[in-house]
């Protein structure tokens, strides 16, 4: 920018933008309050949305004051980071994708730049262009900060769901007096097998179970690590006085285990949960007598 032109206006574009933001804070906040991003997050009252908008505008002005409009790590953003994270989190929970949140964030930009264009309509074209660029860059950085927090919020959501899944996916079912079963479904990694072992051992104590059945029908792959987890669980249950049966071993899994060279002979196994239950009942001394009437019907 030519020296004399800068001297003419006494201000550099970034300072001009800072002054503009402070001057028009209220107006910008009012405009933003009606934008999708603020409207969908602050559903209770519009005042809340306006207040949130004010905070963001102030943060932008602080960043402009530091002259680091391109820096997402600028100190000015620190005060709004948490608020942006909550906003992003709220949108993500409502099912908005990252692209949608980004677009909603981008929609805030023209609401500010239009105001700036109005205000500086008298200014020389060069100065106007530079001010608009500075403001656009600043809004772009704000969007980056917002998306960063969104990604982090998304990661937290995944982590929480992962934990929830650990809890949900391991129910212990009482099949009979003294017989409990755990149907295992999905990947049996170290974290899950730990949960399985704990819930099973708890159930053995609570239900006074003598026999525990681990059903692996829903486990797609039984490799050496899964086998090791199963053997440890069986050994732990045995220490507590419960006999453990592993059921649901499909033909393909059985052949794979043999080729893999894993010795499961120390573990009592059955092909299906029904076989395991029949064995368990027999061990309990229960006899299942077929109803003669229904046998006749079947013929």
């Amino acid at each position: 920018m030519p020296e004399q032109q800068a001297a003419e206006h006494q201000t550099n574009p970034v300072e001009e933008v800072e002054a503009f933001l402070r001057r028009r804070r209220e107006q910008i906040a009012q405009r933003w309050a009606d934008a999708t991003l603020f409207r969908t997050v602050f559903t209770v009252s519009r005042d809340e949305a306006v207040e949130a908008g004010r905070t963001v505008v102030e943060a932008l002005a602080a960043v402009a004051a530091s002259g680091r409009v391109e820096d997402a790590e600028a100190d000015g953003f620190a005060v709004v980071r948490e608020q942006l994270a909550r906003t992003a989190h709220s949108r993500a929970r409502a099912g908005a994708t990252l692209a949608q949140i980004s677009a909603e964030m981008d929609a805030l930009r023209p609401l500010v730049t239009d105001l700036l264009l109005d205000e500086l309509s008298e200014a020389p074209a060069e100065h106007l262009r530079e001010c608009t660029t500075a403001l656009t860059v600043l809004m772009g950085t704000l969007r980056l900060v917002m998306l960063e927090t969104t990604t982090i919020a998304g990661q937290e959501l995944i982590n929480r769901q992962r934990l929830e899944l650990l809890e949900i996916a391991t129910p212990v079912i009482k099949l009979w007096e003294g017989i409990v079963a755990v149907p295992l479904i999905g990947t049996l990694d170290s974290a899950r097998s730990q949960v399985v072992m704990e819930t099973l051992l708890d159930a053995v104590v609570e239900q006074h179970a003598r026999i525990a059945i681990l059903d692996i029908t829903g486990v797609p792959t039984v490799d050496s690590l899964v086998a090791q987890h199963l053997m440890k669980t069986v050994a732990a249950a045995r220490l507590m006085g419960a006999e453990c049966i592993v059921s649901g071993i499909r033909p393909a899994i059985a052949q794979t285990i043999v080729h893999l060279g894993i010795d499961l002979s120390s573990v009592l196994t059955r092909a299906s949960l029904a076989d395991a239950l029949a064995y368990a009942l027999q061990q309990q001394g229960a006899h299942i007598v077929p109803n003669p009437a229904s046998t006749v019907e079947a013929r």
């Binding site: 990694d189 797609p220 490799d223 050496s224 690590l225 090791q228 033909p251 080729h259 893999l260 060279g261």
Partner: protein, 148 residues
């Protein structure tokens, strides 16, 4: 055996437990598409699981390349190449023997994986990394006649 090699169909990273799940799912999908029988599918998926975990735990992470191949006789197959830039394996014979483990596992991974596939080769250099290449065919290829 001579066989034509297709271009690498996929290259999957192995850096976390979640990646192991992806590796297993991908191999399962590919074997099903190529017409592997369920037993062969399960064997190759299990071998992939063992080798990918080795790359993750012992090699500090790596990748798996998955390529459909076909033999000169027109038999379809799948080749998997697991590579890592880890410390390498000091004693290959020991590592391949059953029951030997440098970690806390059962020590059946590498030797077990070799028994689960039709072709197996391993290349490991100290300080450079380890590459394991395995291939399985939809129908077992005829064994080369042994020398009398």
């Amino acid at each position: 055996m001579t066989h034509s090699t297709g271009s690498v169909s996929a290259c999957l990273p192995i850096h976390s437990d979640l990646d192991l799940v992806r590796v297993r799912q991908h191999v399962r999908q590919m074997t099903a598409q190529l017409g592997f029988r369920l037993v062969e599918q399960t064997k190759l998926v299990t071998a992939a699981s063992e080798l990918a975990r080795n790359a993750l735990i012992h090699g500090g992470g790596g990748q798996m390349e998955c390529t459909p191949v076909s033999s000169s006789g027109g038999v379809q197959g799948l080749r998997l190449v697991f590579s890592d830039q880890g410390p390498g394996i000091a004693d290959l014979d020991q590592a391949l023997s059953d029951g030997y483990t440098s970690g806390e596992g059962l020590g059946m991974g590498l030797g077990g994986a070799r028994r689960l596939v039709h072709e197996f080769s391993i290349d490991s250099r100290r300080g450079v990394g380890t590459t394991v290449t395995v291939t399985s065919w939809t129908s077992r290829p005829p064994r080369p006649r042994e020398a009398p």
